[in-house]
């Protein structure tokens, strides 16, 4: 159970380019941070570095639990969700198959998966092949695992882009509840989030660097 994370003078490089350097941030339970920044500033890279998918060129990310620091791998593997730009859905499977797999994979159950889908208004679509879903429906399918399997740290990369108004509302509630439950949210977004979030500016974009 992650109660806080602190990013300490993190530096991320892509290719031979230093994207982010000396980046510091602490995020406590119930807190949300909105990462802003131009295209190519490094928001996605930062999120992936926090998730441990990219090895930082310097600095570290520390995960704190009730009883002291947690090893990064375990913390992420057990208690973090990463929603990237892509939905990561298999077009040829049915919506329900994918929802169920993603939920179980992240520690949810059949029941919680079904509940999550219902909550995101996917109920009637679960029988359809993912290929047939609309962009927003696919994104909701990908978001379902947030509700289906409870994990403390949410790393969200522009989660709301293809959602329609109502669904943004629903998703806003979801985030609010998560925070109220002591969760942490680190989200990259170009539009304001539907929740109170501490704005942080990332990097300089491709024209800097």
């Amino acid at each position: 159970m992650i109660t806080a994370i602190s990013i300490e003078s993190l530096a991320v490089a892509r290719g031979d380019r230093a994207l982010i350097s000396g980046f510091n941030l602490t995020l406590d339970a119930g807190e949300a941070v909105a990462l802003a920044g131009r295209n190519g500033a490094g928001k996605t890279s930062l999120l992936r570095a926090v998730a441990g998918l990219i090895r930082p060129s310097a600095g570290r990310v520390v995960f704190h639990g009730e009883d002291g620091e947690i090893a990064a791998e375990d913390a992420v593997a057990r208690d973090a969700h990463l929603i990237g730009h892509q939905d990561g859905l298999k077009l040829s499977r049915t919506a329900w198959d994918e929802a169920l797999f993603q939920a179980e994979w992240t520690g949810g159950t059949t029941a919680s998966a079904r509940a999550a889908c219902a909550r995101l208004g996917l109920g009637k679509l679960l029988g359809l092949q993912v290929r047939k879903l609309s962009a927003g429906q696919r994104r909701r399918l990908a978001l379902a695992r947030l509700a289906a399997s409870p994990r403390s740290l949410w790393l969200l990369d522009e989660p709301m882009a293809p959602l329609d108004r109502d669904q943004r509302g629903v998703f806003g509630q979801l985030m609010a509840e998560h925070l109220a439950g002591g969760g942490l949210i680190l989200a990259a977004a170009h539009d304001p989030l539907p929740i109170a979030a501490r704005p942080i500016e990332v990097g300089g974009g491709e024209n800097a660097g």
Binding site: S92, K124, Q129, R131, K132
Partner: protein, 238 residues
């Protein structure tokens, strides 16, 4: 006739009595054919195995006949996008595969005693095998695409490509084997037949035709029902 059938309602009405009728005819013909068959004396060289012929030959014939039907249905469903044609194509494939498989199995069962081997790479045999593969590919493709309409059209395109190709395959195979030394004992023209065998054979052939007609109609009806059920379900789901 066709005009009457292209209207689904009319088709359902027609097939409701046509299917069982054809089925009955098939049974009668088959019974008669088999009776005559067993009246016939055992072949002097093939002994009792000759009975296989009455199952094998019609099956082999149907395997080609059904593919022709499949091709026509596919063409209609592609060009006129007619639901019945699509259903007909869908329904025909497994039947054709069945007949082809029957021809293959009975054939090799017959080959064991007569040629002393289950299988020889003879042109006729090979082309039947390829035909069987066409059916398998057709069904595999259709079942591999989720969206029914798209699956049907893709399969129809394949069926047409196959229709153009099958004759070529057939002749290329014949040509192939005539280039290499003749390998098998099979007399491709088939043993020239005394009437005692010919009569029952023809009866069996007709029986197969009628049987196919009956099964086909039944399966098409099934397709139509399935489609209607799906639509209703969609409406219900809203």
């Amino acid at each position: 006739m066709f005009q009457a059938l292209v209207n689904p309602e009319r088709f359902m009405a027609f097939s409701r009595w046509a299917a069982p009728l054809l089925g009955a005819i098939a049974l009668v013909l088959a019974a008669a054919g088999l009776f005559l068959d067993f009246q016939a004396p055992p072949d002097y060289q093939q002994g009792y195995t000759v009975h296989i012929m009455f199952i094998h030959v019609p099956a082999a014939f149907m395997s080609e006949f059904v593919y022709a039907c499949l091709g026509v249905a596919s063409f209609l469903s592609l060009v006129f996008r007619h639901a019945l044609a699509t259903a007909a194509a869908r329904a025909a494939a497994p039947l054709g595969a069945g007949f082809t498989l029957l021809a293959l199995i009975t054939g090799s069962l017959w080959g064991r005693p007569t040629w002393g081997t289950w299988w020889v790479w003879d042109p006729r045999l090979t082309s039947v095998l390829v035909l069987f593969l066409f059916y398998v590919g057709y069904m595999a493709l259709e079942s591999a695409i989720e969206d029914e309409a798209k699956a049907a059209r893709a399969a129809a395109i394949l069926a047409l490509v196959g229709l153009i190709n099958l004759p070529i395959v057939h002749y290329s195979v014949v040509w192939w084997n005539s280039l290499h030394q003749r390998s098998s004992l099979l007399r491709t023209d088939g043993p020239d037949m005394p009437a005692v065998y010919l009569a029952p054979l023809l009866l069996m052939l007709l029986a197969y035709m009628a049987g196919f007609g009956a099964l086909w109609l039944v399966r098409v009806r099934g397709e139509v029902w399935r489609r209607r059920a799906a639509v209703l379900a969609m409406r219900a789901a809203g």
